[in-house]
Amino acid sequence: MPERKEVSRLNNELLKKALSGDELAISKVLTNIEYTTSDGLKYLQELTKLSGKAHTIGVTGIPGAGKSTLLSDLIETYVSKGFRVGVIMIDPSSPISMGSFMGNRIRMQDKTLLSNVFIRSTASRGHLGGFSSEALMLMEAMDGLGFDRILVETVGAGQTDTDVMSSVHSVVVLTIPGAGDEIQALKAGIMEIGDIYVVNKADRPEADMVYDAVRFAVESGEMSWRDGWKPLVLKVSALKKVGIGELVDALEIHSEFLKKKGLFETRVNSRRRKMIELILRRKVNEVVTRVLESNSAYISEMLVKGELATLIDSLYSSVKDEL
């Protein structure tokens, strides 16, 4: 079997070029993968055989918390340490036009010309949860293509967008002064998924209060420790590039912790499961959308009649039939 694998790889010029580091080839391979073309699925399969080595890092937080700016700082620091960095940024698709305005690159365009950095934007395309099947596939591919560190910026997340947790090795949750009192830190959801909590905009006076509140939540055990890891809490000013070195150190410590406990590989497996889950959900979702569209008149009619139960039953069987 390994022999056949080798042949199929050698026969594919594009994948070969991408593996040798050609940026345009990498980009084409990624596009094929994100649109799950038949070539794309083959590339994904080949690259998954090579992946599992990169340290994957997710950065999440509310819109405006400074995710893109922090990412830009992380890129700089990782590149200066000699790592090859892949970056994936997810921006929301409009639920109305399905188009997307992706503006995250603005904060890192000065990193574009660095030679060891590949930055790719991807639209959420109807996925909820802050992550998308596309982003997971791109991550798997970049890992297989030999990037050492892969940074993913989620869609500006609300309180329940927790898919990032099962998608990356290390979750960085960004919070800022002025985003709520200590009760927010105790709530379920995004505030319980972080491996590292970063209070950004730490140059602001109220930052210490937020920092103390989050630390208290961690120390008092109110916040969950995932797999025995006690979450770290850091203060950072992404814009002023203060505290970035400490954050990178914290990420390295977390990565070492995972490796020592044998969890590094576990998380690669769980992200692959998540990828498969999200691909399937996307496919099922497309069927639901189709059924709703093609039954639009029927839905109006039944709503007027007030036959809600029959309507739901019949739509559900249409969905099952289509599947």
Binding site: E23, L24, S27, K28, L30, T31, Y35, T36, S93, S94, I96, S97, M98, G99, S100, F101, M102, G103, R105, I106, Q109, T112, L113, F118, I119, R120, S121, A123, R125, R282, E286
Partner: protein, 139 residues
């Protein structure tokens, strides 16, 4: 899933007027395209590198500084060197009408002057994407 048109919208050179570029970027988004907005003061090299990494179908450049005959050829050349022969290039901004043919002869696909309607821009960007990349577009 059908391929969506991916467009880079960039402000080229030393020119801080980005209102127009933002309006265009929003209009293209509302037309269902995936728009990567790079922001201000981009060099030709940054724009082309962005197009490579994003696998863009069309590059849209906004320039109001009057340096278009200086800077646009640099984009065209950088695109050629990078092998982006199948990527569309459209330019908009304050451009004297007599420069339109010069820009087009360099390899620019469309030029949009002030006053061009959003519908026309959307239609032409779609058709450039169709022509260069073979993406089918329903209008």
């Amino acid at each position: 899933m059908d391929k969506r048109i991916k467009v880079i919208v960039a402000k080229l050179g030393l020119d801080g007027h980005d209102r127009g570029a933002k309006v265009i970027a929003r209009a293209l988004k509302d037309a269902g395209m995936e728009v990567v907005y790079t922001g201000l003061r981009q060099t030709p090299q940054q724009i082309v590198k962005t197009a490579i990494q994003e696998d863009a179908d069309v590059i849209g450049v906004s320039i109001l500084s009057g340096a278009h005959l200086e800077l646009v050829p640099q984009i065209v050349e950088a695109m050629r060197n990078a092998g982006l022969n199948d990527v569309g290039l459209v330019v908009g901004g304050v451009i004297p009408p007599e420069d339109i043919s010069k820009l087009k002869s360099m390899g620019v696909d469309e030029v949009f002057l002030p006053g061009t309607g959003l519908k026309e821009i959307i239609a032409k960007v779609s058709s450039v994407a169709g022509k260069k990349r073979g993406i089918k577009v329903e209008q």
